[in-house]
């Protein structure tokens, strides 16, 4: 009888311990780490750029050239795409944040344009590899990437709510401060208060720094996503019409 009790006690304790361990072990990082690189996070871009220059250069750049020069130079640009992409790796990294949320759109673009260009331009690519004209056109194509950063506020909000990098008290405290800032914007736009927009920008930056400092260790992917959306969020806040739609 005594053996049964002494054997059952540790078994129960082990089971109890396992029940507690489940929530701790369930914190899978989102797989968007590579796709969401903020322009402000130099470390992240530096880490990610070597990985990205390998898969991306040929695929995303070729459609960009195909869009910019759809007429006769597709084949030439397609052949020149790899060196240009590797040469502008930093520019590609800064363009990534916008494609952080749009990593999915980039692949459909590839799939839609690649067949057309491959069928029409493969014959030209072999012939055009020896020409020297395409380098003149590379600057024009590098000016194309600055696309409008996509902003998914609902997704960011959901990720902030779900992240385990911030505790409940901290999340609630942050929410209070966000609500305070939003009420100040409301007061500004309803002309109840004359707060300079530059002052609100400072408060917005300070709040964002707080959020990023809380997230950067526990959830770096979310921190990068928020950091890359900084200007887009400010664009919504600073525009009375967009703000009214929030």
């Amino acid at each position: 009888m005594r053996y049964q009790v002494t054997a059952g006690l540790p078994a129960l304790l082990v089971l109890f311990g396992c029940v507690h361990m489940q929530p701790d072990s369930s914190a899978p990082a989102p797989t968007q780490s590579g796709a969401q690189q903020g322009p402000n996070n130099v470390q992240d871009t530096q880490k990610a750029s070597p990985d990205k220059t390998e898969p991306h250069p040929a695929q995303p750049q070729a459609p960009a050239t195909a869009q910019s020069n759809p007429s006769a130079t597709q084949g030439k640009d397609a052949t020149k795409a790899p060196p240009r992409a590797t040469g502008t790796s930093s520019a590609g990294a800064t363009a990534e944040p916008s494609s952080g949320a749009s990593s999915k759109p980039s692949s459909p673009r590839n799939s839609s344009t690649a067949p057309g260009t491959s069928s029409a331009a493969t014959g030209k690519t072999n012939n055009a590899t020896t020409t020297t004209q395409p380098p003149v056109k590379t600057p024009a194509t590098t000016s194309v990437p600055p696309a409008a950063p996509s902003l998914d506020l609902a997704a960011l909000e959901a990720r902030l709510k779900d992240t385990r990098a911030i505790g409940v008290f901290t999340k609630l405290s942050l929410k209070n401060q966000v609500d305070d800032l939003l009420s100040q914007f409301r007061a500004l736009y309803s002309k109840k208060a004359a707060i300079p927009l530059s002052d609100l920008r400072q408060r917005y930056d300070l709040l964002l720094i707080k959020v990023l400092s809380l997230l950067q260790d526990g959830d770096p992917d979310l921190a990068a996503a928020i950091s890359s959306s900084r200007e887009a969020i400010w664009g919504v806040l600073a525009d009375p019409e967009k703000f009214a739609k929030l």
């Binding site: 053996y3 540790p10 304790l13 082990v14 507690h20 008290f169 901290t170 405290s173 209070n176």
Partner: protein, 83 residues
Amino acid sequence: MVCRKVILALTAVALASHVGLTLAADDSMGKDLGATIALQGMPCDKVVDAKRNADSDYTATCKDGNRYHVFIDPKGRVVVQRL
């Protein structure tokens, strides 16, 4: 005799893991309270003790000796009061 030793070892391991998990939970609570205190602009390098007074109501003691009452008021705002 061997069986008894095995049982004792298992008990010790189970107790140690349980205590470790409890400490980890306290540590996460301490970090949460520490971040909350810092967000309110008050000094606290590290929370070394957190006493639960009620739901969402804690008394935190920092390593530098500062003590804070951290709670959620009826309006849903996090309040940090220095004690």
